[in-house]
């Protein structure tokens, strides 16, 4: 069979552009990257506000009861160091709410606000129009009305809220839960040699003085367990958490392992962590930190 050079050339001239074209399209397609920003803190602020407007704080939706606000502010307010988040508590983030009576300028506030050391981003803030229920007696009649009020909800995203949520998830799912930890400006002694302070650090404790809170503490807390050395606390009752502190550089992977209380946990042996998980019954959360 005789080869026709002209036909071969034309075949190549047609085929090569077709192949190149496929490559070109592939390069264009793969060069785009999709970025998805969840904005879950913004969404959470709306959800939390809606939750609070329908919570036991109100007599009917968006109409607050002054006596319940007074009681909540006293019981859950920051003045007594409570940091409670009643009625609409999110897990990964925390809320702080402030209700203002627009006629008398009186305010009631409670919830959690992080200390600067653990806060990740600016809080997402949302303001909702609301009312405060007023009842009274006039000659010949008993009447109800509302006073204008404003409810401002702040959603705070902090390393403490994320870590406590990790512990709660680990306890609920009975699995090892993990998250990436950015740098928290806490310095702990690194195991040497040479023994020196780390650039970043994470610590958590349920202090004896505040048994329903989990707190991040300063490195000196180990030798002097004073409340002054508790840097940031969140109200998280009913989860047993083993005291933990460790230093790291820049970034770390934090794991929460639900184990039978008292179990010895070797955090260096990551593969073995799953086998230590307490699938049922009582469990305490042990944190493990792996520098990245």
């Amino acid at each position: 069979m005789e080869l026709d050079i002209m036909r071969i050339m034309m075949f190549l001239v047609r085929t090569i552009p077709a192949i190149l074209f496929v490559f070109l399209i592939a390069i264009v397609m793969f060069s785009f990257s999709v970025e998805i920003e969840e904005k879950d803190v913004d969404r959470l602020s709306i959800e939390t506000a809606e939750g609070l407007l329908s919570s036991p704080l109100v007599t009917s939706r968006a109409v607050f009861s002054e006596s319940i606000l007074e009681e909540s502010s006293t019981r859950y307010g920051a003045d007594n160091g409570a940091n409670f988040e009643p009625y609409a508590r999110p897990c990964k983030s925390a809320y702080y709410v402030k209700v203002s009576d627009l006629s008398s300028r009186k305010t009631w506030e409670f919830g959690y606000r992080p200390s600067g050391i653990t806060e990740i981003d600016e809080p997402s803030v949302i303001a909702y129009p609301a009312g405060i229920f007023v009842s009274g007696l006039r000659p010949g009649e008993f009447y109800n009305t509302v006073k204008p009020a404003l409810m401002v909800v702040e959603i705070h995203d902090s390393w403490l809220t994320r870590a406590t949520c990790l512990a709660e998830k680990a306890l609920a799912t009975r699995e090892v839960e993990e998250m990436i930890l950015g740098c928290i400006d806490l310095r702990f002694l690194m195991t040497g040699p040479p023994i020196e302070l780390s650039d970043c650090g994470f610590s958590i404790v349920r202090p004896a003085s505040r048994t329903d809170h989990l707190c991040i503490f300063d490195r000196n807390y180990g030798t002097n367990p004073s409340d002054d050395l508790l840097l940031d606390c969140r109200y998280v009752p009913e989860i047993a958490v083993r005291q933990f502190s460790k230093g790291y550089d820049n970034e770390a992977k934090l794991r929460a392992v639900p184990v039978i209380p008292g179990t010895l946990v070797d955090c260096e042996n990551i593969e073995a962590l799953e086998s230590l998980v307490a699938k049922t019954g009582l469990a305490e959360i042990v944190f493990c930190l792996e520098g990245l």
């Binding site: 036909r7 034309m10 001239v13 047609r14 552009p17 077709a18 190149l20 074209f21 070109l24 399209i25 264009v28 060069s31 785009f32 920003e37 904005k39 913004d42 969404r43 602020s45 709306i46 506000a49 809606e50 407007l53 009917s60 939706r61 968006a62 109409v63 627009l102 006629s103 949302i126 909702y128 129009p129 609301a130 009312g131 229920f133 009447y143 109800n144 009305t145 509302v146 204008p148 404003l150």
Partner: protein, 275 residues
């Protein structure tokens, strides 16, 4: 060569030409998508949570518990849907007293029986009015003629001209029975139209504002005049106002809650709009 048959050479040429053209088109599209020539990437898509959506429902809940005079607002609404009219004048004052304290950009409360508006609190005030479009292509903006402070500058303000609203006329405000003018921002045509007594004096750090008398109309925003308005038009236009499409769009973000009301076979709705 047989007539009507394309030669292999011609086919090859066509393939090459198509390849080159499509490649150029793909490269251009790729560059266009990668670099934002208009400030916004054509392949970017953002979802923002607009909290305004839920606010009218809170206001509506508050209103149903709110007492005006000797009865709740809900009772006034029920009565007006049955009677076909509002029998007391104190509702308007009561609503304004409550809703003004929230400091919304815009609010409106309407009581309706079917499509008929029995009562509307739609009060256009500088800085807090809902922007309504007019003109055949919705190119104009409705401005209430009651805003007498703008009268020396024509019905629309300095830099604006009045245009024919065409089929999309501005509604008459029910609360104050005032007509609206259909206005178009056109500093180029303003001097030729012979409206108002004031000349256009540019103001602001980038000269992007125009000096106006007394107050900025709702379709503009007040900016720092950079001392350029103080003596403008012999001191008659001391306020620097900037027309911004973005601020206009922002000002029309509003949401409405509709609450059905029933009484012995009669029905109506309360519509609360907040922006």
């Amino acid at each position: 060569m047989i007539k009507g048959i394309i030669t292999p050479m011609a086919v090859t040429m066509i393939v090459l030409v198509v390849f080159v053209m499509v490649s150029i088109a793909v490269i251009f599209l790729s560059l266009y998508a990668r670099f934002s020539f208009s400030g916004v990437s054509p392949v970017a898509y953002t979802i923002d949570f607009v909290d305004i959506t839920n606010k009218p429902y809170s206001v509506a809940e508050v209103l149903t518990n709110y007492r005006i005079g000797d009865r709740q607002f809900l009772e006034h609404s029920l009565e007006s849907t049955v009677m076909g009219k509002l029998t007391t004048s104190e509702v308007k004052g009561g609503l304004v007293e409550l809703l003004d304290t929230y400091n919304f950009r815009f609010y409106s409360v309407e009581i309706k029986k079917g499509e008929e508006i029995i009562y509307s609190s739609d009060i256009n005030r500088p800085g807090r009015s809902r922007i309504q479009r007019c003109g055949n292509g919705f190119e104009g903006l409705c401005v209430l003629e009651f805003m007498s402070s703008l009268k020396p500058a024509g019905p629309c303000g300095v830099g604006f001209i009045e245009i024919d609203p065409g089929d999309n006329d501005c509604p008459i405000d029910l609360a104050i029975s005032s007509d609206s003018a259909c206005c178009l921002f056109s500093p180029e045509r303003y001097p030729d139209e012979g409206v108002g007594n004031f000349e256009i004096v540019r103001c602001g750090a980038s000269f992007n504002g125009i000096c106006n008398p007394l107050a900025c109309q709702p379709t503009t925003v007040r900016i720092n005049d950079d001392d350029l308005c103080r003596d403008a038009n012999s001191g008659g236009t001391t306020i620097c106002c900037q027309f911004l499409e973005e601020s206009l769009e922002e000002s029309v973000i509003s949401a409405t809650a509709t609450i059905p009301i029933f009484y012995k076979g009669e029905s109506g709705t309360i519509e609360v709009t907040v922006g």
